[in-house]
Amino acid sequence: MLEQQLVNALSLGCVYALFALGFTLVFGVLGVINLSHGAIFMLGAYAALEVVTRLALPLWIGLIVALLVAGTVGLLIDVLVLRPLRARNAPHLIPMIATIGIGIFFNSAVQGIFGAENLRFPSEAMPDAQLHFGGVQVSVLELVIIVLSFALMGTLMLVMKKTQLGRALRAIAESPKAAALLGINVEGLFFLTSFTAAALGGISGVLIALYSNAVFPLMGQPILHKGIAVIILGGMGDIRGALVGGLFLGFAEVLAVAYIGSTMRDAIAFGLLFLVLLVRPQGIFGKLLERKA
């Protein structure tokens, strides 16, 4: 029984980690708490749903479309809203408030267009095969979630650690001004980061929509709150932190539901968060220093 729970926890944790990864990437590189990330997540799920139901295309195309739609929206947000704010050197609170407005905008636009009700993926589009490893049952869906998440996270970490691009991004995270002086195309990389982060958000939106089989306009809000918890747990702006924090939250939630009771699910997650805040407010991998903007 325990092994079964661990598999569930791993797939849920992977989705949280994937969501938190985009969130933390924007924070680390752009220095913005992007509170529209939940809405982007939701847009990804709707994009995939439209592709699968209306165009009757297979799910993997839906996933790619979700990636592109979410990424484009993220890029547009950066070009239209965040860049002008950067140009006038607004204190970091201001972009955060702008992203709140963007989040409200998308949530309510989708609600106006598709209605508030809960939509589902058609059952024939869902991968429903079950695999057996020893005594543990793993659905293909869970396997896809786990493999896809680890592949994406691994690629991202490799890029950040080993490539010239990653070095440039880390330089920007340290100081955008110094990076620009060294000849790094800071604005270009900001666009790239916004696109990548939003695309990750969109993919995780599709994955959670499949996992819980529910698509609704406000589906991004609870995960946004959890994303905040995850990146506090892991340390803000830290990619390893998002991974560890996401998996940790997934395990904490699933085990809490299994052994304590479903009402304690959020209590456990946020209780742990509170403890971390009291003991180590900077998170597991975080530094106590403020990034000087």
């Binding site: 002008p84 905008f105 905040i228 946020f270």
Partner: protein, 286 residues
């Protein structure tokens, strides 16, 4: 005065909500004026609302006692969580305090023998009169106005501008931050207590993340340069959804768009005396 009676019968709740939101916006203005980006005010409001409601409903306390309880409880909570979290600065503090807000919401949700859990507390006696809200707002405005011009207010400003320089000049940085944080919590608690006894229902979801973000938005949109900004911001954020009512399903969409536009085009908030002078005093000044 008949038109006023009619107006009041329809809109009294809205007007009083503006007053309560103004209190909340001022509570976050106070911490912002000390350079603290603390976003726990929704949680403090919730703690105040629940404490006061439980006092009047279960303990049979009188309204003034309940209000005092509604102020004292969040102040106590602020003093406890202030010690570890106020070490953080900037957005890190914002995230940590948002996290605390979620913790409070979940705690309220799970302590259902007292708080009614997800169903909330129903049938809170409607004790808040219109003049209570007005008096609270005036008192808080006076207090903050006086505070700004005092030694403490100047210390807040010094800390906001440069924490290290302030501490070198002999200002107790941590103590002042704590004071701003606790005082802000008290004001938010007062607003929560008044609101609970106005709407006679409270539930945990009212004091979550969205409310916290709302409060901050009111203060920033209005402008944090002075005391008028938060009050104006509260009025606008409260009225905007009402004014956009005719757009039905797309009402909130416009609301969000307006928020983004204000942030983009009015950098210092709506109440920005410099810009107002530029706009309206053009003929006289130039």
């Amino acid at each position: 005065m008949e038109w006023f009676d009619n107006f009041w019968a329809v809109y009294s709740n809205l007007v009083l909500t503006i007053g309560i939101n103004a209190l909340l916006a001022l509570s976050i203005w106070l911490t912002l004026s000390c350079g603290l980006l603390a976003m726990a005010n929704a949680a403090f409001m919730g703690i105040g609302a629940y404490t006061a409601s439980l006092l009047t409903m279960n303990a049979g306390a009188s309204f003034p006692v309940a209000l005092l309880g509604g102020i004292a409880a969040p102040v106590a909570a602020a003093l406890i969580i202030g010690a570890p979290t106020l070490r953080l600065s900037g957005v890190y503090l914002a995230m940590a305090t948002l996290g605390f807000g979620e913790v409070v919401r979940v705690m309220i949700l799970n302590a259902d023998t007292w708080t009614g859990g997800a169903l909330g507390l129903n049938g809170i006696p409607q004790l808040t009169q219109w003049w209570h809200v007005v008096a609270a707002l005036v008192l808080v405005l006076l207090l903050l106005w006086r505070l700004r011009r005092s030694r403490i207010g100047r210390a807040f400003e010094a800390i906001k501008e440069d924490q290290i320089a302030a501490s070198l000049m002999g200002i107790g940085v941590m103590a002042h931050k704590m004071l701003a944080f606790a005082l802000g919590a008290g004001i938010a608690g007062l607003a929560g207590a008044l609101n609970a006894h106005l709407t006679f229902f409270i539930g945990p979801s009212e004091f979550g993340f969205d409310r916290g973000v709302d409060i901050l938005t009111m203060a920033i949109l209005g402008g944090t340069g002075g005391l008028s900004g938060p009050v104006l911001g509260a009025a606008i954020i409260t009225l905007l959804p009402e004014l956009l009512r005719s757009f039905k399903d797309f009402r909130l969409m416009l609301n969000g768009a307006i928020l983004v536009l204000i942030v983009l085009f009015l950098p210092k908030g709506i109440w920005d005396p410099m810009r107002l002078r530029q706009w309206f005093g053009r003929a006289g000044v130039r």
